[in-house]
Each structure stands twice: as C-alpha cells, then as structure tokens.
C-alpha cells in the first residue's frame, strides 16, 4: 500500500469518526447520546463502503444496501436521503438511516431512534406480526422539512426525534465539508483513485487471510425462541481457497411474529464472523466482504419476504446467526446470544436499552463478563443519567456471578439489572436464551440461561405488557459458554 493511500485512508476514517462524534455529542435520546447506538461511514461514487467508524457491527455490514437504495434517488451534493424500510435498505424500523451526497461519493449515518410509532411505545413490540405494526415505514426519500414533520408526527416523542434527526444531519453537513476540503487539498481524481485502492487493499488482505485457513465445509444449527415455539437456523460454512460461501438452506420458514431478518441483516451477521476469523484489526472497507457469498432461500427466517415483521431479527436472530456460524467452526463457545432489549414508555416518555451478558470462552482465554457479545457494542446508560431524565429507578446493577459456563476457559458472567418504573407504562422485552443457555464447546459447560421477571414473576422470552407505578423488572442476562473440559 503506498503512502499517499495510507494518508488518504486515515483522512477518510477520520471523517467517519468525526461524524460519529458530532452525532453522539449533539443527540437528545439516551440511546444515541449515552449508549451510542449509531454508526457512520463514507462510501464512494459507486456505492462501495470505503471507511467507517467502528461502532455497531449490525449497522455497518448492512449499510451498503442503504446506499444502493438511496442511489436510486440520484441525489445531488447536499441532498439527504432518509430511509428505514427493512426491505429497501434498512434493518428494522427504529434504525433510521441518512445517506447524503458529498462531492465525491456518499456519507451515511444510522441511528436507533427510541420510538418510530407503531403499536407499542419505544417501537419494540413483542407481538407484531407484520411490519406495519412496528412503526412508520420510510422508503428511500429526500429528507425535506415536510418529511421531518411527518416523521416527528408519527413518533411518541416528536421533540426528541427532531433533535436526534438534526444531530444526524449535522454529522452529514460535517462530512460534506470534510470531503470537499480533502478533494480541494489533494485533488478529486486522487481521492477517487485512493478509494478504489482502499477497497482493493481490504479485499486483498481478507483474501490472503481466508487462503491461510484450511479448506472445507462445516455446518451447524441452533434455535431461536419464537412466540409460537422454536425455529431452527441451519447454516453451512465453506472455505474454498480465498473465498467463503455461507448458505442457510434448511433454515425454518419465516416467523409469524418478528424474529425475521431481511437479507441485509443476515449478510451483516456473516460479515461479522468473517471479520473475527480473518482480519480483526484491519480498518475495513467493503472490499473486506467481497470474498464472502451469502445465500438463503427466500421466505425463510433469515431471508424474510415483505411485509413480515422484523423488529427482533436485527438484534436476536442476527445474534443467533453468529452463534450458528461459530458453532460450525467449533473453535469457540457461544456468547449470551441476545441483546436483552428492554423498551419502556407511555405518553410522556420512551426509553430503550440493551443489556450485555457473558461472552463465550475462546481458545486463548476466558470470556469477558457483562458485555455485548456480537452484533452490538452499545454502552449502558449510566444510572444517574437515566434517573435524571426518565421516571425510572435502577434498583440493582451487578454481575450475575457464576452464570458463565465452566471449562478450561470459562464463559463470561451475565449481569443483573433491576428497573423500577415510577409511572404506569408499557413494557416490551425482546430476549433470547431464556430456555437454552449458550452452548459450551469442546467439553465446556453451557452458560446459565437468562431470565426476565416482573415483580418476581418469570416472563417469557418475548413479552409486551402493562406495568403500574412501582413495578420492578428484573433482567438476568445469560452467561457465556465454557471451552474445554475443566
């Protein structure tokens, strides 16, 4: 890689990172400003991802579909496209994506908004059966003042939505300025050539890393805990030379509720596993995923057909896809396998958080405790920030000691988080690994399954219900699986 390329690569990454900083620092909802549930990236003229801020894996792998969808609008510089439709470039409805035209390519931001309307506050209903119930569907369209009004009017907390959306727009304005400056300083042609080469460089690095892995085909399966019973994900993972092919033939048909993944989310989960296996430290461009082919029969759980409901696919099914692929490869135990989504709200507030748990043990060490294990890496809202802004009180927040699976290397421990609601409100919990603990590997023990309790009473993995002031929700998150017999 020549030096100019390294310099330009650093500059483009710096733009993506600065976009992320502006978004987080000027946002209004706890989910963006404290939990940083957002991602930013820079794409080239042909819609290929060139540089990203390393935030949330599930966002990043699915972004190219958003840019492809936005490109159909033929944006001119300065124009911003908004979308959240999972079937045209989105992931699930709360993830609102903006794509703007810069003087050379596109800037992208994706942020999880704490409410986008739909049947339940905070837009994470446990029992949605079609997309229309999950919130306002925004196909790719120009973001105008009218669209902003429409978006805010459909959300339960319009003021917060406007504030968060403006924070996103600020990030795009910044990216436009920075790309302009870069083109002026170094020449547009040279930046364009560097973008090509950065893409090719990542592809070369990842191909070389895949070629170093042994060839072969492995397969595995695992289940998600759907409202109507368990659904199976089957995957085969083939390494052939410098390419990887992942296929989901044999996976159960799509869920009648909302565990479905659009193909963009499924690909994102596969890319995450490839990244862990090959070049974890590479500043990635889309080229890193060029050697990876992902296929799944249309209409199955991991390649859902519109208008299937998808809200839990992005967080829960995506987590399980990662589990299945790691299980096929057999060299690590499973992590908590869920994001433990908790959504609360009424007419006055909406609050959303996801809660970490135990990581699965690796060949070279114990699994860390109390972290997001795969497709998310959001922060926890500080107790003090939460209590200052919402009618909620945190009663407990500590490690769930002993929940990690035993083994030569131990699985990480889950956590315990108790929230008391101070007003009547609606609760939705979308969680997994309530019936089955994360699997250990190579003789290591499974992690302890998670639990959801309301006033001490155990709840199913997916639940939406009414709460009264004073009620206490307790979430015990799963421990990670152990590796190797003790």
């Amino acid at each position: 890689m020549n030096v100019e390329l390294q310099v330009i690569g650093s500059a483009l990454r710096a733009v993506a990172e600065e976009m992320g900083a502006v978004l987080i620092r000027s946002a209004f909802s706890a989910n963006i400003k404290e939990r940083r549930d957002c991602s930013t990236a820079i794409f080239d003229e042909s819609g290929r991802m060139i540089a990203q801020a390393e935030h949330i894996p599930v966002h990043l792998g699915a972004m190219p579909d958003a840019v492809a969808a936005a490109m159909s609008l033929c944006l001119t510089p300065g124009q911003v496209c908004i979308l959240n439709d999972p079937y045209t470039g989105g992931t699930h409805l709360p993830d609102v994506t903006l794509v703007s035209r810069t003087s050379l390519g596109y800037a992208v931001s994706r942020a999880h908004h704490a409410d986008v309307g739909g049947m339940e506050p905070a837009s994470l209903p446990a029992f949605s059966r079609e997309l229309y119930q999950e919130g306002l569907i925004i196909p790719p369209m120009l973001l105008t003042a009218e669209v902003e009004q429409l978006f805010a009017a459909n959300a339960r907390n319009p003021d917060e939505r406007r504030g968060d959306l403006r924070a996103q727009i600020s990030a795009h304005r910044l990216a436009e300025r920075r790309i302009d400056e870069l083109c002026t300083r170094r020449g547009r042609e040279r930046i364009a050539a560097a973008m090509d080469e950065l893409y090719a460089y990542s592809e070369r690095m990842v191909r070389a890393a895949i070629a170093r892995l042994p060839d072969g085909t492995w397969s595995a399966e695992d289940v998600v805990e759907a409202v109507d019973g368990e659904l199976t994900i089957r995957a085969s993972f083939e390494i052939a030379g410098d390419e990887i092919r992942i296929d989901f033939t044999g996976t159960d048909p799509q869920d009648s509720y909302n565990l479905n993944c659009p193909m963009s989310v499924t690909r994102s989960a596969c890319y995450f596993v490839v990244r862990c296996l090959t070049e974890p430290d590479l500043p990635a461009s889309g080229g890193a995923f060029a050697p990876v082919a992902v296929t799944a029969p249309e209409g199955c759980l991991v390649h859902a057909r519109a208008p299937a409901a998808v809200v839990a696919g992005n967080t829960e099914t995506a987590s399980r896809i990662v589990d299945v692929l790691f299980r096929a490869l057999g060299n690590r135990a499973q992590g908590q396998g869920t994001m433990n989504n908790v959504a609360l709200g009424n007419d006055g507030f909406t609050y959303y958080e996801t809660i970490g748990g135990g990581q699965g043990a690796c060949a070279d060490g114990d699994g860390p405790s109390g972290v997001h294990v795969a497709m998310s890496n959001t922060l926890i809202t500080p107790v003090e920030a939460l209590e200052l802004s919402y009618p909620l009180r945190v009663e407990r927040w500590h490690l769930r000691t002993g929940s990690g699976g035993a083994g030569r290397h131990r699985g990480g421990d889950g956590v315990v988080r108790e929230l008391r609601v101070l007003e009547d409100c609606r609760l939705s919990v979308l969680a997994e690994r309530r019936a089955h603990g994360p699997h250990g590997a190579d003789g290591g023990e499974d992690g302890v399954p998670g639990r959801t309790l309301v006033n001490g009473e155990e709840q199913p993995a997916k639940v939406t219900r009414q709460l009264h002031a004073g009620d206490v929700i307790r979430i015990e998150t799963p421990g990670g699986g152990g590796l190797g017999s003790g």
Binding site: S170, G356, A374, W397
Partner: protein, 583 residues
C-alpha cells in the same frame, strides 16, 4: 533578607532522562541526568547538575503516579458503592475491549471483586430515597486505601460523607477518598473510576512526594510545587492527597512551556507538538494557553478531572518500522527504546524512524555526547523500504493527531503556529506545517527540555467544579470568571463557554459553530461551572547566548534535539533563542 542570587528551578522526571532547567538572574541553564529507580534521587542529581543555588521557587513534574498506575504498583484498595451496585468498576459501560477480538479484556479494574462492597441507603436525583444504614457497611479488611462512590453524591454528598467518616473511624490507617471530593459530576462509572485511581495511588504518591520534600529540604531547596494534569501547580500536600490530578504532570509541563515560548514570540495561537522516542503529544494552545478537557483515559481507566487536552499517538523517533502482509509500512507502536535503540546506534536495534531520518541526511553523523551514528546499519535494517516513505507514514499519523486537536475541535490550523519540541519534534515539524498550511514553526532553544522550562513558568492553580444540572434560567448569580458547561435540555454532552453576561446567547452561538445549527426554542441546562484560583507563575525572562539565521535545506543542532529545515524554509532566532521558521 537579601539574597545575592534568586533562582528558579524546574525538574521534570521522564522515563529515560530527568531534565532540569535553572533560571538564574535571567540566564537559562539546563541539565540532563539518567532517571534512577528512586525518582527523588534523580531530581536531586539533576538539581546538582544544573548548579541549583539560591533557589526560591522549585517546580516538579513527575511520572511516579502514572508509572504506579500503568505498572499496577498502587495500594491494596477497597471500593464501597450502594448495595446492589458493588460491581460498578467491573461493569464499566458494558462495551467490550475489541469489536472483533471477542475475548480481549480491558485492563483489569484496580479493585478485585472480593474487595468491592455495598452499603444500604440511597440518594436519588431529588434527594434521599432510603436512609443510610451504616450497620450494613462491611469490614474492608486489610485495605490500605478505600474509594467510596455512592449514587448522586455529586448532588447530595451526605451519605457518602457519613460512610467516609465511619471508614476513617474504623480504619484509621487507611486512606479513604469520597467521590464527591474528587470528581463531583454525574455518570457514576467515570466518577467511581476516578475515585478508585485516586485512592489506589495516594499511598505511593504520598510516600514519594514526602521523601522528595525531605530530600529537597536537606539539600537547601524549597518545598517543590507539583505540576498537575491541568497545567497548574499545587503543593506537595495537595498532590499527595489527590494523585489522580498529577497523572499527566510531565507532558502538561511541556505544554505550558510551549505556550510560554509561543506567547513570547508573539504568537497567541499555537499548537504544541512534542515528539519523543516512543510517543508524541499534541495540544492546542488557543490564546497561548493549553486547552483543557474534563476527562481523559489513563491506562484504559477514565479519569474525570481537568486535564490539558493532549492527544497522544504511539509513535515517535524510536518507533520500529515494519511491513504488513498487504505491503503497507507500519510505524510503531513497538519502540526500540533506549536499548538497543535505533539500528544506527549500532547496538543491534531494528529499523526506526530515526534511521530513516539519518539516511535522508537529517541527523548529524555524531550525536552530542559522542555517539557516532552507523549509516550502514540503518541501511541494512531498512532494506528495500524507502526512508522517505517511512517519514511520510509517520507524518500521516502526526497529521491525524494534529487534525484531531485542531480541525475536529473546530479550529483552522492555518491560524496557529506549530511549537516543535521533544527529541524528534523539530525534525518533522516543517513537513507537517506544509501539509496543514501552517506558516510558522517555532523551535525553542530548550527543545529537548521544554517540559522542565514549563514547570518553572507554571501558574499555581486550584480547579473547582460545581455541579448544577438545572435549567440555566433558574440559576442565580454565577462567578464572574471561569467556564460554564452548557447543553440543550435532553443532550448529554456539554459545550464549554466562558462565563459572561449573556450565557444563553453565547451557548446558542457555540452550538451553531460546532454543530451547524442552534435551537433557540430549546431550554438550556447548566451542567457545571468550572472556576480556578490562579496565582500567576514567576515572570520568566530568557537570555540568549548566540543568535543565528538559517536557510533551508539545513540541519540545526539544538540542546537535546535536531532541527531539519527543508528547502523553502528560512528563519532566525528571536530574543529568547527560539528559532522562528517561515516559508
């Protein structure tokens, strides 16, 4: 009463060398001695080497606290939180250490799980929710230090105060720290982390600082003032009580020194660029004084205390050069250190940035002190790697750092002068200035020991923060001088605005500048007010021995550093001996 000589002494202890600067009747003397295992001995040795006599003012920069933290040599520490929140230090903010290396661990917390305790009682945002029950406070065993962090103590410290008093009563030998005394701001993890670091380091820092004060007294020196991370200085007792405030002590001295040099050269806006052997620190100096941040991570632990806004890059002159599988040249983070040093030192070291500089003719054949540089060894070590490419790669890292502190914080680097110091700073500064369209590069005469110079010029400073977190419109009178942290109600991050008559207008304006839009209809929240009691530092005047002019390309040898002046650059020294380079 009369003293014939009135001298000012600054001593900065670094990892390899201890530097001393003595200002004696306007004359500057410098000295460098190797750093010994016991830092107080190095300090005294440096003072002797520089000929310190009749010293009335003695300032000190130390790495004792930083090293003890990085090497985990602090006290056996216990942590007390609310019942149910005992594991705060272990839960952090729940992010994992590496996005794709799933079993990577963060640096372990300073307090192991078995010494994390809870006490019953709870304060909420609007006051007490449950009375404190001291009978539930466990015995902290043989802990030498205890950190106490209870929820909302930044608003109502009564529970925390009672717990601390009880712990001091029960464990008279232990050092007990309350979070509201150290960092009275919201976000419990960051506050707990700061408190734990403070408690963990206190016994070590106190032992060292008291030993130093004793040794100084025996040597006829005044009691030293200690450089704080904020760029001010404090007494030995203050620093020993809260060593979390001195974690960036040495680099802060460099930044103060750079500000002094820039102001005296007539540049109000400057960027400090301190490139050493293994790392590089850059810092913006708007108005000739260091910008400060409210939080900084040290050794992976967040420290919520005012700190000069340094951005550190793990690359310097001694950084090793390698090539990765994709053919890209990598510089650092591994370093050749002092031993074996760069390949050209002839002691079997690998290829470094210094070797590339040597092959490009930017270093003398022999270093001051008599080390003859081995060109052939440098060539062998670099092999087919183009030395200019090495410089370009390391400069790209430096550029990124310079952009982080300037462009990304909303400042145009073209309005700033670059102050280059540290052993390698003056070698790279002009090329970086060209990339950023910076017109002037300042190279202080004492480029190799600027931190020590900054110490002698440091102002005495005590920072105070008062947490508000309430609507600006409801807040009464505020101090006249200082800074206000403000945000729109609902945001979590503040913009810092100097206290002034129409704070609201100033905040809308700052928000517009920073984020491209203001929202005058939204309510503004005052988060905190930061004030400082400042006693100005001594009036430092520098006298120069020899003045000179230089025309690039040229190589200028300085005390402890070498300056490379590329073609197209020229300059001359000012009255301070600072080389002012322009294009």
């Amino acid at each position: 009463m009369q003293s014939t000589r009135v001298a000012i002494l600054g001593v900065d202890v670094g990892g390899t060398f201890t530097d001393a600067v003595l200002l004696d009747g306007g004359r500057v003397r410098t000295a460098k001695v190797p750093t010994a295992l016991r830092q107080e001995e190095s300090v005294l040795a440096a003072a002797r080497a520089v000929g310190a006599e009749g010293v009335v003012h003695f300032a000190h920069g130390t790495t004792v606290a930083t090293n003890a933290l990085l090497e985990r040599r602090g006290a056996r520490t216990a942590f007390v939180a609310n019942e149910g929140f005992e594991h705060l230090l272990h839960l952090r903010r729940q992010t994992r250490a590496h996005l794709y290396r799933l079993c990577d661990e963060h640096p372990p917390p300073l307090v192991p799980l078995e010494r994390c305790y809870g006490v019953r009682g709870r304060v909420g945002p609007n006051g007490e929710l449950e009375p404190l029950d001291l009978s539930t406070l466990p015995d902290v065993g043989d802990a030498e230090a205890v950190a106490v962090c209870l929820l909302f103590s930044f608003r109502d410290p009564s529970h925390e105060r009672a717990v601390v008093e009880e712990l001091r009563r029960r464990n008279p030998g232990a050092h007990v720290v309350a979070s509201h005394e150290v960092a009275p701001e919201f976000r419990e993890y960051e506050r707990a982390s700061t408190t734990a670091v403070d408690a963990y380091l206190a016994p070590v820092a106190a032992r060292y600082l008291r030993a130093l004060a004793d040794a100084a007294r025996d040597a006829g020196l005044p009691e030293p003032l200690v450089m704080l991370s904020s760029g001010g200085v404090a007494s030995v007792d203050e620093a020993a009580a809260h060593p979390a405030t001195i974690l960036v002590s040495g680099p802060a001295g460099g930044v103060v020194g750079a500000g002094l040099v820039a102001r005296r050269a007539g540049f109000e806006q400057a960027i400090a660029f301190d490139m050493g052997g293994t790392s590089t620190d850059v810092c913006l100096l708007p108005g000739g004084r260091a910008a400060r941040v409210a939080e900084r991570a040290v050794g992976g632990l967040p420290i919520r205390l005012p700190t000069v806004d340094l951005h550190t890059v793990g690359a310097g002159g001694g950084s090793l050069v390698t090539r990765d599988a994709g053919g890209a040249i990598q510089v650092g983070p591994e370093s050749a250190g002092a031993h074996p040093g760069p390949a050209c030192y002839g002691a079997g070291g690998g290829a470094t940035v210094t070797d590339a500089n040597l092959l490009l003719g930017r270093l003398p054949a022999e270093l001051p002190g008599g080390l003859v540089l081995d060109r052939a060894a440098a060539e062998r070590a670099l092999g087919d790697i183009d030395p200019q490419a090495v410089i370009d790669v390391v400069n790209a890292e430096m550029l990124r750092a310079l952009r982080v502190v300037s462009v990304e914080r909303g400042h145009d680097p073209r309005d700033f002068a670059l102050v280059a110091f540290g052993g390698a700073g003056p070698l790279h500064a002009c090329a970086l200035a060209e990339e950023l369209d910076i017109e002037a590069v300042l190279v202080p005469e004492a480029a190799g020991v600027l931190s020590a110079l900054g110490l002698v010029a440091g102002e005495e400073r005590r920072d105070r923060v008062v947490s508000y977190v309430r609507p600006l419109a409801e807040v009464g009178e505020l101090p006249a001088d200082g800074d206000a942290d403000l945000r729109y109600r609902g945001q979590s991050f503040e913009l810092t605005v100097p206290l002034q008559h129409d704070l609201a207008a100033a905040f809308h304006h700052a928000h517009e500048e920073r984020y491209g839009h203001a929202e005058p209809e939204r309510e503004i929240e005052l988060v905190a007010v930061r004030t400082a009691d400042v006693t100005p530092g001594p009036d430092v005047s520098l006298h120069v021995t020899d003045c000179y002019k230089v025309e690039g390309p040229a190589l200028v040898e300085l005390h402890g550093a070498t300056c490379w002046v590329p073609a197209g650059w020229h300059g001359e020294t000012n009255d301070d001996g600072t080389l002012v380079l322009r294009r």
